[in-house]
Symmetry: C2
DNA sequence: AATTTGCGAAACCGAATGATTGCGCTTATA
DNA sequence: TATAAGCGCAATCATTCGGTTTCGCAAATT
């Protein structure tokens, strides 16, 4: 069973849950109310999110509050960092320079 | 068939392919040499990456060079942006302040 | 002209995924 | 104390996923 952040955020419902509890921890029931699936389905998502440390839980009586572990999200950002140079246009600029040189040659 | 960036980068092989062609476009055969899977399997991955616009192709005779579309990666970054505040520690600092207040009360 | 090379598409297969349903446990409420 | 509420877990099921194998086609090579 693969359990990494990338697989966790692949599911749209899971991304919605992450967003939902990002700034306020919530119980499974409260989360489930925001979607048209069962509480058990949400519970399963929360288990996956917990298993890859994207989410922490805090028990309070019979209720369990789930909270986002923001730090873990950094992993995705770290991976993305490798490509940031590309989309920030530096490589496009390089392309332009090369094209210009080509054109001058003609 | 869901075809979005998040689902595309969920697979580790696909992430490796993305990294591989990020700075130099490559043919399916050349890519396949870097993994222990068949060219056809790589082709399937490239199809998925193409379908969600993460990858562009350029034909040259019978060879097809695949190239990363860096811009598309921005979508992930954009989604991540929502959480950046959290892991950058501002919320953790808030937590610390609250804990300190609690301790002082005791 | 015959053969090899590079490629995508289709058929197939076992494993994983996401959802539902039924269950049992613990905690709160009547 | 009996009942209800909140939760996780296990079984089940249809669907998707990632891989291989086989095939056909166009472009190179001989």
């Amino acid at each position: 069973m693969r359990r990494d952040v990338f697989q966790a955020i692949a599911d749209p419902t899971r991304r919605a849950i992450i967003l939902l509890i990002a700034f306020q921890s919530m119980t499974p029931n409260a989360i489930a109310e925001h979607f048209d699936t069962s509480r058990q389905a949400v519970s399963k998502h929360l288990r996956i999110l917990t298993e890859c440390n994207l989410v922490k839980q805090e028990q309070s009586g019979r209720e369990i509050y789930y909270q986002l572990n923001g730090t873990k999200m950094k992993e995705v950002d770290k991976w993305l960092e490798q490509f940031r140079k590309i989309w920030e246009g530096r490589f496009n600029e390089l392309d332009n320079i090369l094209s210009n040189l080509k054109n001058k040659k003609k």
